[in-house]
C-alpha cells in the first residue's frame, strides 16, 4: 500500500514536471516566432516607406507632364470643353440612342 502511494506521487510529479517544461518550451518557441515576425514586419514597413518615397519621386508633376507629352495625346483641359448636362439638346435624350453610347467617329 505504501509503495503504491509513493509510486503514484512520483509519477504525478514526473507528469507535472514534463508538462511544465513542455509548456515552457512552447512559449519560448512562440516568443521566438513573434520576435521574428515583428522583425519582418518592421522590415516590410521600412520597405514600404522607401517605396512611398520612390512613388512620390516618380510622381513628380514635371516628370508626369513630360511623359504625358511624349506618350499620350492628352492636353490640359480648356474651359470651353466643360459643359453642363442641362446645356445638351433635349431631343437627343428623348429619342434615339443615348448620347453616352454614341461612339466617337
Amino acid at each position: 500500500m505504501r509503495g503504491r502511494v509513493t509510486l503514484f506521487w512520483v509519477l504525478l510529479a514526473a507528469v507535472a514536471g514534463f508538462g511544465l517544461f513542455h509548456v515552457k518550451y512552447r512559449v519560448q518557441t512562440l516568443e521566438d516566432d513573434l520576435r521574428r515576425l515583428n522583425a519582418a514586419i518592421t522590415e516590410e514597413q521600412e520597405q514600404l516607406h522607401v517605396l512611398r518615397a520612390e512613388w512620390a519621386y516618380l510622381n513628380r508633376p514635371d516628370r508626369l507632364q513630360e511623359l504625358s507629352e511624349r506618350h499620350l495625346a492628352l492636353r490640359p483641359l480648356r474651359a470651353e470643353q466643360i459643359g453642363a448636362i442641362d446645356s445638351l439638346p433635349e431631343a437627343a435624350a428623348a429619342d434615339g440612342p443615348s448620347p453616352l453610347r454614341v461612339s466617337p467617329k
Partner: protein
Amino acid sequence: MTPKPIATANLDGTAKQALETGRTRLLVGGALFAVAFSAIAFRLADVSVVKPAGEPNITASRGVPAFTAGRADIVDRNGLVLATSLNTASLYANPQHVLDAREAAERLSRILPELRPAELVSKLTSGRSFVWIKRHLTPRQHYAVNRLGVPGLYFQREERRVYPQGRLFSHLIGFAGTDGIGLAGLEKKFNDTLRAGAKPLALSVDSRIQHILRQELVATKARFRATGAAGVVMDVDSGEIIAMASLPDFDPNLPDRSPAKARFNRATLGVYEMGSTFKIFTTAMALDSGAVRMTGGFDASRPIRIARFRISDYHGKNRWLSVPEIFMYSSNIGSAKMALAVGTRAQRDYLDRLGLLTAPRLEVPEVGTPLVPARWRQINTMTIAYGHGIAVSPVQIAEAVAAVVNGGWRRPATVIKPLDGERAQGRRVLRRQTSANMRKLLRLAVTGGTGRQGEAQGYLVGGKTGTAEKIGGQGYRDKALISSFVGVFPIHAPRYVVLVVVDEPHGNKRTHGYATGGWVAAPAVSRLISRAGPLLGIAPIDEDAQAVQRALRIRIPTAARGRRGHDVASF
C-alpha cells in the same frame, strides 16, 4: 504540550531527556512545515482553481514595434510625400579584409560608375581598417553590392533626408542638414515636432498647382530675362496657401550646390514696393470709410506737385475721372487724391487692419517685416496710395487682397493644412458692400483696364496690375521694375487669389518693349488660372448668367459728377 513517553524502559535519565528534547523540536518543526505547506496549498488552490478570472488567460499583445525613420515626413494636402527620411546604407571597406583589391575595385566601379577604379584600388590597398567607399547608396546599389559578395565590404546604416519633389518646394520646405537638424524653411520651424517623429506634417499646398505656378514663373522669368520671380496662390476663404514659389530656387537634396542668393524666399522674406496693386487697398478704404462713393471721382487733369515730387499718370486721361475709371486706368493722381480724402490716420488704420504694416504670422521662419515710413506725412499718404514708399512681401498682398474680395474677412495666411472642419477665426476689416464693389472694380480692370491680359476664358478673373520702379543707389531707377499682377477668380464669388511678382523684367519684341505688370505678370496669371481651374474643381462660369451679370454690373460715370453715366456690364 509534553509528548507521551512511548519507550522509556531501557533509557536512563539523561538519554531520556535528550530524546524528549529532540521529539519536541521535531514536533515544532513539523508543525511549522505543516502550516507552511497548507498555506502554499491554499494559495495554489486559490490562484489556480478558485479565481482564475483575476488574470487573463492570454497575455495582451505587446503590439508590433512601430517603425520610425527618424524625422517625420512632410506631405502636401493630398498626402503626397514632400520630405521623408530614409535609412540608407553607406558602404565602407576594411582594406585588411579585402582579398583581391584590383578585382573588387573593378566590380564595384561597375555598380557605382562615379567611382574610378584607380582611386578605389588605392583606397582598398591603403592598409587601414576603415575607409568610406560611398555614403548613402540607393536600395538598388545596396542590393547589387551585397550580391557581389566581396569580402571586406561592409554597410553602415545612416539616415538621410530626401526631398522627392526636388526644387518644387525648395523655399517653403527648406532643408535639413546631414545631422538631421532643420536649417531653413518649415524644416527649421518645425524641427522639434519633426524630430519627435510622430505623424506626418500635412501642408496646405497642392503639388499640382505648385508645379503649374513654378512652371509659369520659370517661363516668365526666362522670357523677360528677369532676375527673379515669386508667386502665391491662396484660398480666399480659409487663408490656406495652395502654392507658393520663389525663383531662383535650389535643390534641397543638394543645398550646397546652389548660391546662397537662391535661398532667398522672395514670396515671404522679400519686401517690395508693389506699385498700383496698392490701389486696391486705397480704393477699398475710400469706399469703406465713405470718403467717396462709387459714383464719385476726382480731377486728374494735371499732375500733382508737392514738395519736390511730381505725381503723374502713366496712362493719363487728363480729365475728371470717376472712381471706377481711376481704378481701371490705374490713375496715380486720382488715387493720391482719394487717399487724401480718406486721411492719413484712417489710411494707416486700414492698412494695419489689412495686415500690411506688421510682419505676417506665417509658419515659415523666413518672414520679412514691411518697410513703412517712420513719420507718416501727407506726402507718404499720397505715394502709398499708389504703392510707393511702403514695401511689403507678396504673401501679405495675397492675404490683404483675399480680405478685400471675400466679403471683408481677414484670415491669416497659413501653409499648414487645417484639421477637418477647423477654420481660422476671421476678423472683419471691411464692410460687405465694400467688398462687393471691389469685386466689380477688379473685374473692370481686367475687362477694360490695364489687366486685360490677365483674363482666363471661363474663369472670370478680376485683378489689378502693378508696376513699381526699384529704389537704386540714388532714388528710383527707371529701368529696374517690379511688375506684378494679382488676380482673383471667379470674381463674382471668389475662391482663389493668385499673385505673380516679377523682379526686374526686361521688355521684348512681343511686348513692344513693355515690362509692366500688365504685359509681364498678367499673362502668367492668366495661363496659371486656365490650367489650374479644372484641378481646383471650379466649373467654367457662364458669363451671361443672370446672377453673374447682376454681381458684376457697374455704372461708370464719365463726365462731370456722373449725371450722364452709362451702364457697363463688365466682362
